[in-house]
Symmetry: none
Subunit: 218 residues, 4 copies
DNA sequence: TATGAATGAGAATTCATTCAT
DNA sequence: AATGAATGAATTCTCATTCAT
């Protein structure tokens, strides 16, 4: 073809790489195939990226950057916790279709073991949400919006766990099937997912053990 | 006698395979290396398994079977929901050390995409817990132990999501690092994890929106 | 073929490698071609040798070992210097046909630049002859066999230079052509080469400058 | 003006090529790297040279031409043989530093085997010195300056062999190490090399076998 | 005319799979 | 039946060469 590699061609290469790596993983994907699908020669790929692994990391990084920017947008708000929670759940539902591959990539790296870079990615990616969520919970406690007998960091952790699994459920084959096993046709009912998950979360954040105890029964 | 030896050998082969596949994945692991580590020849491996993928599935199956039997043991109980929840959380903590590789394998298959067998595994593995959890929640509702304004299947789903993420956090590199980013040193405090997670779950299951509304304001 | 790689097959592989490397050099030779010519698969080659360079070194080493053993045989003697010199010249003539490739390999490594291992080979290979020649000259001086106004090490060096060039002249394309340019048809007259080279050497070793001076004229 | 620039550029390209080929050989050197180092595009390189090999030959030719002109300068003289020999030895010492790369290139081609052009180069390069040396020796014999029982062509050959090896010893890694193994620290003593080599040569040329025989006994 | 990005054939290396022993 | 050496297709990566700009 011998046409100057435009910005968009390069972007297409990354997208193709992401699609392949998301499906087959670092080892399973084939560099030549990716190049061919992207409409370029292997040569260019290797002009831009030292080797397969570096290219994989570029794909990963792009995926994570996109996810991060989406996340950033969504977490930006001064609303109360439950309002934010609802916004985030809906964001997960909305973006999961469009950004599915990026979430698959995120899922890929999250299932890698024994690679040095794994913990680096974790530290980088999770730090932002961990901080945002934790601070928000701390402020809500101070404001008396939610109960004060909880460990903010751990509750932030549980909250993110629920969102993460929801993401995976919408994007990754296994988790989608799993969600369907649990939720049946309700999994396709976005509104129900939102309302039930909110229900789950809001009580968790709102009631203290003492209240539970003195009313009790379970 | 000879058969016994073979069975042992075969079991060792599977364990070795699990260890390798858990670390490197289907494509990253090396069949010859596995055979050597297991102390057998590749020849026997191929006598028992058609090809690499089939052997991988055998490893996967064994992993999942073990996890299933552990799970089965733990979910067997007539206790009330929170008692069971606590037992399960503690089970996750206890078994995560011993059965780490199996959970890694579970995580592997869960991050696979575009493979027909993925949804089959999901259906098989998740069905049991989905049914058990859902039934239990339904009974708890009927017994008036927990609130009655929830969708049992979805709540079972959320509950399992929390447990699944806890498992991964204890066993898989990325999730461990992620948990540490969120929980800091508290992640090493098993009791705190138990109590906070229980706190999170129990309110979720115990209080109804109406109660929240009439008391409140979040 | 799937036939156990015998000692001789391995030896054949080395010989094939030597032949290829002698002709085309480390970079120019093709591992797949060598394997095919040797009648084995690339796989075995890589079972025995880490990579192309290591295989090249194995070929080099074999070549040098053979040359060394031949040299060792020839330098073993208690004869006087000129007798030994003659024996060596004749050895060069005799063995050059049979061991031509090994000498080509020697010539290859001798023309390599900027590789760490080059000086290691030089030190290893040349040390033996350097010591033998030098000691022999020292002893000849002490015995009064040859003149005593010379630096034994340097004369050993010059002597070996003449023999080395003679070797190359018999075995390496360029040097053969060069020898023919100088010597014309006399290059094919082995006896003449022997007698003239001996003539050249014997005077060099026998007469002192003082003798030259007092007779003088040049 | 523009042509001037091009000629300079072209010369620089050749010099860069020589440096690279001298270090890495025809197969080891990289055309793109050479062009980049020379500050031109590969395009021009291929405008001037059909392909890599042709460019290599251009580099080789330039190297040999320079060596030839140097040699020509040095061999031009009416002095007696030993005076000329001394001049040549000193020339080798002086020029080896400055013209090291060209000698390395000479060494490269001299170690090539199985290529048709090799013998052409040999014929061309060696003819001049062979003729000059031989004629000079013949004249010296006729003039009674040196002994008359020698084959002029062979003696010219031996003489050139010594000079050639001296050149290599000063310029090529392997031969330098080899020279050091033989000569130890004396190899850095230029004057000693000159005087000892002259000693070696002068006797070789001056004394006849009959003289050796009737005085002697080695 | 000069450039150097792009090409893609070719070379090194790996490893799933076979099968002679 | 078990072994594991041998196979060679497949994959990664390089670099001589081309040609649109």
């Amino acid at each position: 073809m011998l046409k100057k590699l435009t910005e968009e061609k390069l972007s297409e290469l990354l997208e193709t790489g992401i699609a392949e790596f998301a499906e087959k993983g670092l080892d399973g994907a084939n560099v030549n195939t990716i190049a061919k699908k992207a409409g370029i020669s292997v040569g260019v790929l290797y002009k831009y990226y030292e080797n397969k692994e570096e290219f994989f990391h570029a794909c990963l990084r792009k995926s994570l950057d996109i996810l991060k920017s989406v996340l950033n947008e969504v977490t930006q708000s001064n609303d109360k916790l439950l309002v934010r929670a609802e916004r985030m759940i809906r964001a997960v539902q909305d973006y999961s279709k469009e950004y599915g591959v990026y979430i698959k990539m995120y899922n890929r790296i999250a299932s890698e073991n024994g690679r040095k870079y794994v913990s680096m990615y974790a530290a980088e990616i999770e730090s932002m949400t961990a901080r945002v969520y934790t601070e928000f919970i701390e402020r809500a406690i101070k404001d008396g919006d939610i109960r004060n007998d909880i460990n903010p960091r751990l509750f932030a952790f549980f909250f993110d766990n629920l969102l993460t699994m929801l993401q995976f459920s919408y994007c990754c084959d296994y988790y989608t099937e799993r969600a369907r096993v649990y939720c049946k046709e309700d999994f396709d009912n976005d509104e129900m997912i939102v309302s039930e998950l909110l229900k789950f979360i809001e009580s968790a954040f709102t009631f203290s053990r003492s209240e539970i105890v003195h009313r009790d029964q379970m």
